[in-house]
Symmetry: C2
Subunit: 148 residues, 2 copies
């Protein structure tokens, strides 16, 4: 590992403590705020669905993949890493062969998941009120039997 250059101005060590202990809260309207990144992880295409799937129970990778329609392995793995990196998801690997890995929500993750689910639930049940606003052109792309 390289030794730190004395001429470096950025205070590397205390940064996370400064942020964490300062009681500072994020501001999503500010372009450079890290809360933007957290928001992106949580509201990403698959982030929402992963949080919902894990809200009620622990799941394995393949179970998640099956439950979340259309997700690719690559995206699922990446999404799980992001959420794990934010402290929302806990990854528990059992040293057996074949591999066995379980994913669950942390207490912190459960808190976001509740908010996410509130939004997701609303969309699901409000869909009948939303679709009438759609351009008919966009609507015909969906065959009725695929809606539910």
């Amino acid at each position: 590992m390289e030794k730190p250059d004395p001429s470096e101005t950025a205070p590397r060590r205390p940064l996370s403590e400064i942020i964490a202990n300062g009681g500072m809260q994020g501001n999503l309207m500010a372009a450079a705020c890290p809360s933007r990144e957290v928001l992106n992880h949580v509201t990403s295409r698959w982030g929402v669905l992963v949080l919902m799937a894990l809200e009620t129970r622990t799941l394995r990778f393949s179970q998640l993949k099956r439950q979340i329609g259309g997700v690719s392995e690559r995206m699922l793995a990446q999404t799980l890493k992001h959420l794990e990196g934010d402290g929302f998801v806990r990854r528990q690997a059992f040293e057996v062969v074949p591999p066995h890995v379980e994913y669950s929500l942390t207490p912190l993750g459960l808190e976001v998941a509740e908010r996410v689910r509130s939004l997701a639930d609303w969309i699901e049940v409000s869909l009948p009120r939303i679709l009438p606003h759609w351009d008919p052109e966009a609507l015909v792309a969906y065959a009725p039997e695929t809606v539910a």
Copy 2:
């Protein structure tokens, strides 16, 4: 009800009514469900911020642009169109020169916005609990003074 054109296979007219009146609700776990698209509009990078900005007051295009740090005109316009197309945003144009256009939330939009804000607020205030989980490498990209 008019008789369907024998040559046309797709039932164009009744589709929106079928969906809307059927009491059908969406299923986000299904890849082909239109609720996925609504979710994408709402949770898109700028969709969240637009809904938050409009929750409390009507705003003009340029006001929105100023308030939402980092958004480009193109993305703002596109986001507003998506949200308008879902029935969340109302666009009111005054026929004057120079143009004057006001954006506000519909009652439907206010309902989503409340859920979105609940999530956004949580992220903002919980940021100090989240950042300690981050890889220090990712953290140093943010100078302390830009956080708040």
